[in-house]
Subunit: 171 residues, 2 copies
């Protein structure tokens, strides 16, 4: 089965993201606004408990950290994706790295850029129009991240949460 | 903020449910297929930790149980809702009762009928047509339920998982 790991930010931030995603993000209905920590990866049923234990170990060694959304940006020219940029910080980068190495090793196509996608698969005109508008907006939101989620993908492409992991090891 | 408690069944069962929900359920994009254990209820931010602790206590005292989906049925004439019926069992009924009493007391409009909604807000003709067809189908699916989820509702009506609770108290 296909799994992925993501952070869901606060309702407040998700509501802002969704006001854009509703119009500009083809994945709007498939998953709530999120920061991807680990791209889709396959886990055999027989291996799931080991994977969960490994993730839990990583979560327990990570302390809650500040999540700071500070700009709108894009992955142009690679893709017409618009996102809310999340400021890099050591704890977040370390967490992402741990979730993609060792027993959870996974080839990463791109360097990790923490972000919340708000638009994707847009045509060029709309992409430049929306990005230009958003770049003039000020965004500066800070909150504490104390958990992340392991999800699995359904046949329709949507994602269901399998388990929540609290940072710092609290269950 | 508005919270709710639900069980997400296995991917296998969710895929079957979604093949119907896609066409017949107006809530298809708002939440994955689920069994509601506690209807939407308000929690003040300041009270959230207490509520989570209470739920955790209940989860720890509940052992994993068998979830048996055995028929298609409806809430007609109360509403044109079609669902997959989940066989009642003591553990499930007890869990639902615990999550709606004591500190989590909540007035329940209807008696608890464990189910997975696959169609709602249908017009009369479609409702009778689809229900008639589904009632001739055989469904008998059994799986172990070992967890449930606390979710919160976003402004667009969709639900995000806040925390997973493992039955039997394993974190």
């Amino acid at each position: 089965m296909k799994y992925g790991i993501a952070i869901f930010p606060s309702k407040q931030l998700q509501d802002v993201a969704n006001s854009l995603r509703k119009r500009y993000d083809t994945h709007y209905a498939l998953i709530p606004p999120h920061i991807t920590l680990k791209e889709a990866f396959n886990v055999e049923d027989s291996d799931l408990n080991n994977v969960v234990a490994e993730i839990k170990k990583i979560a327990s060694k990570t302390t809650p950290f500040s999540l700071n959304v500070y700009k709108y940006s894009s992955f142009s020219p690679v893709s017409n994706t618009i996102y809310m940029g999340v400021k890099e910080n050591e704890e977040l980068l370390h967490l992402q790295k741990e979730l993609n190495s060792g027993n959870l090793d996974q080839e990463e196509k791109y360097q990790f850029v923490p972000h919340i996608t708000v638009g994707q698969d847009m045509d060029d005109d709309e992409f430049h129009d929306v990005l230009g508008r958003l770049r003039m907006e000020t965004i500066n939101h800070e909150e504490i991240c104390d958990r992340f989620q392991l999800l699995y993908q359904l046949d329709n492409g949507s994602w269901t949460v399998y388990e929540t992991f609290r940072l710092g090891g609290e269950a």
